[in-house]
Symmetry: D2
């Protein structure tokens, strides 16, 4: 499986009771598939994997596999602290039909780069599905080194990388080293504000959280990229980057609560989600924050 | 439950197959109880909670409750990423007989101090057992603020704090603020190298990983502290601090693998553990590292 | 002065005695001017400002002004800890003929964002020359916020920004906010490996340390950008990014010693510098490191 | 010179015009000498070295040497970015009569531990006065390793260490390693809130910023320590730690502005300083902050 294109990290809708909102989930996934996205990534950071019990994780994975129904591959995050726990998460996801598994470096316990590499190798041996490395130092506090990633690609351990490291210099080095090694890895950027630059660097695709809100924009941008129309790639990006202001207008809440909170609120305003309910201990956005998000959607023409 | 005294974080022995070594576990716990420790903390960072599946966590909790048999309270770490997952870990530990539950700030997902406080409140509502906050910024990347901790103590949310923050200035402020509030919190230090200073600051006890290796030393130190014999408290600390060199003589492995790896190796050399097996992806110590640890044990008179 | 184009941070050559090597300096500057660069930035981080006494700083500034002789503007780094010291550095540079002054956020002493903003305002009042903000959190440990920078641009405090923050998401937000405000700031990227992405984001130019080694490449890339030929911009970048391997092949030395050490060594191999001497306490590169750098230069066709 | 005892980092008073307030300076120094302090450390972080031009630094050094008049040794901070600049600062301080020079690891430019060690060796060769290492990672972003410090002590490069690292575990290791090497280093703690613990660890003295406000307390504590009266050492510390609340009651200003701002304000309230003027870009404390500081002074009996 060589993944290319737009693969949104699917946001997990909740009912006001805190239960999984399957109807809104299906509506959102179908809207993205109709827009032409090339894959789905569930149980990523934006999919609130950290806030979800194992039962919830399974529920969402099952739903994604059902609604995708083979139309596009479903990647599932198997995010946990260290190897033994990640293996269990990965095997459960595989058993539920995941087309690929996404894992981070180990976290909480402290070790060195050899342990990071061994972690990926041990997990890969325990599952048959293709394995993607998720580079997210802001949560995991380890930066994955390009040399290691390409080595794991050459050895058949990794099928690709989702780079959310915020380090475009390292990403460029990864692209060049991967190309020199015969391109074993599919390289996807997780930064929706600079997808155009990642494409110019040689990315194989994008995993944009904002793709939940405006999947058509990211698909159009991908098609412009495939056509070599850089002016269109850039113009679409400038528009999408302004739309990303839905996350920066939020006041009084930061991090996940502002980012995914804004995505959920926008999706509710757009009629895709029933509620913008957030999981404990994160407050749901209300009042002036909702209004500020609505204003950004209006300014960019997504809302009347 | 107002916990006072020496409460070692119990190291989890493994067989060379990676399975839990119940015999070595019982031997180690009984040796510590015979030495006079005042509590046991299982499934802490030193107890390799991050490397343990839920099944393994339950196995160790059950074993601790059985072997302690009510002689001292058993605290159990319910360590996971965010609130919903922590609640599940905490409830399982409580159902297995834990006398108290130990949890960290949420991690992986990003939020602010309000979410940290709400996290503790939500977990406390979900369990009956007393709740301890575990301040471990090196793993969790959040420092717990003294003001918040004391507020949660006054409100009956927290029964105590295990401070492994490495911030003795903050710990002193915590002690003073707790005293001003009527001492709702039991305050334990996790730094075995400076327990004497923590006692001088007003700590109620210690959670020393090195207490697995030399429980008698920490119990003698506690008794000297209770007797006001500061010269003895200090002299015992100097000896214990030198013994802690078992962790710093390790070469080529860092973090958990060096620290807990040294504890396991020392316990094997002392005949308490059958093996110094480490969990994936951490290498077990061998060769020159084992010899260097043995030399420290000999220099401090623990080994012939 | 609205600066646009390629503005290399000029490396400071030393004689083996540690004295400033004026001949090599002139050779390097003239080579860059002949290649068509649009400005010179002396006494930046790559110009070893931190390692240079005030006398040395003045010597280099004077030399730059002399050899540039008005052909392009000369920007001078006035890098020091806090406001009063920076004002002195800035005034001396201005007196020596600097066309613009480049300063960072204050460092060493700790304060908040209001103090950072006031710092820029106080320095701007003390000099007549245009002021550029240098965003370099890896050295300064403060990230300059886009909103503040644009506000300082609108207020006439800042003429531009050299962004070496490694944060392409923030840079994109800065570009968009600057454009919305009427483009008061000239925005230059300091990351030579992803200049193409910065141009796509809307950068006004680049400050590439590698521009000392291959100024023609960066000028060609700029011209392709002006012509809208993105394929050429990208192809040139891929070549330059590979050339940047001169810094990553260095073993046993890290940071400034590897980066600027590699630039100096390459310039010596190319016959531009007489010596690759580094300032105390940094070791000069020798032996296998020199050979590895030569191999990269050969692979990219810069050396026979 | 083997320094022992209480060596306050002398705060630098300013007139409302920003000029050095020599009268207040002399009053403060004489008050501390009358209280029995054992040394003075001028141009440290609390002495606003980062905010002081070279002319100001010299002015303060000269004043300290004059007013001390040989009664106690005067240590002078020679704080600058890298070796060549530090050598100049150190030589100037020495020429003005400093009894010892205090320097940090190099900062702003990035290097490894070998460069840190070489930095200390090169500076030591350039001055005759005893050299003290200042471990201040919060400003310098490098932690000095105990092994290196003791090695530099044995080699006669360093006479001592002022430890403001906030890492009491590392400090304990430093004390033990220094003792094993024959105690070449004088080891002073910079954390006024836990001086008792540092004495228990084996510190040779303290460099408490709060010693400007209450020198008598720190001298009494030192004498109790020399007499082995740990109950008195601890009781004095609890009192001093509460007095340190003058820095934590400050709202709206953080870091240097809160800490040294509170010291200056307290000294003004006590009639020692004429003004609590802060250097640019730091705001001076006013209104409610001054009142809150006065309340702490009253609560601890220093103000009526």
């Amino acid at each position: 499986m060589s993944l290319r294109g737009v693969v949104p990290p699917v946001v997990t809708p909740l009912l006001p009771t805190g239960e999984f909102d399957r109807e809104s989930f299906d509506r959102n996934v179908n809207r993205m598939l109709d827009a032409g996205v090339h894959g789905l990534f569930v149980m990523g950071s934006s999919g609130e994997v950290a806030y979800s019990t194992d039962r919830r994780r399974d529920e969402v994975t099952r739903a994604a596999v059902e609604v995708a129904a083979g139309r596009v591959p479903v990647l599932v995050g198997a995010i946990d602290m260290q190897t033994a726990r990640v293996v269990e998460q990965a095997q459960r996801a595989q058993d539920l039909g995941a087309d690929a598994i996404v894992i981070t470096a180990p976290f909480y316990g402290l070790g060195g780069p050899e342990q990071v590499e061994r972690h990926f190798r041990v997990v890969a041996e325990a599952v048959d599905a293709p394995l993607y490395a998720y580079d997210l130092p802001v949560s995991v506090h380890t930066k994955l080194q390009p040399e290691m990633l390409v080595r794991l690609g050459v050895d058949g351990v990794l099928a690709g990388v989702k780079d959310s490291s915020g380090d475009d210099v390292s990403f460029r080095r990864l692209v060049l080293a991967n190309r020199d090694a015969g391109s074993p890895l599919s390289l996807l950027t997780g930064h929706e504000v600079v997808v155009d630059g990642a494409y110019l660097s040689g990315a194989d695709g994008a995993v944009p959280g904002l793709g939940n809100v405006d999947p058509h924009g990211f698909v159009r941008q991908w098609e412009a990229y495939r056509a070599g129309d850089w002016a269109a790639v850039q113009a679409e990006q400038d528009r999408l980057s302004r739309l990303m202001d839905i996350t920066s207008v939020v006041k009084g809440v930061s991090g996940f609560g502002a980012g995914v909170g804004a995505f959920k609120t926008a999706l509710q305003l757009l009629g895709v989600f029933t509620s913008n309910q957030m999981p404990e201990p994160v407050p749901s956005l209300t009042g002036a924050n909702v209004e500020a998000i609505a204003n950004v959607l209006r300014a960019e023409g997504l809302l009347d």
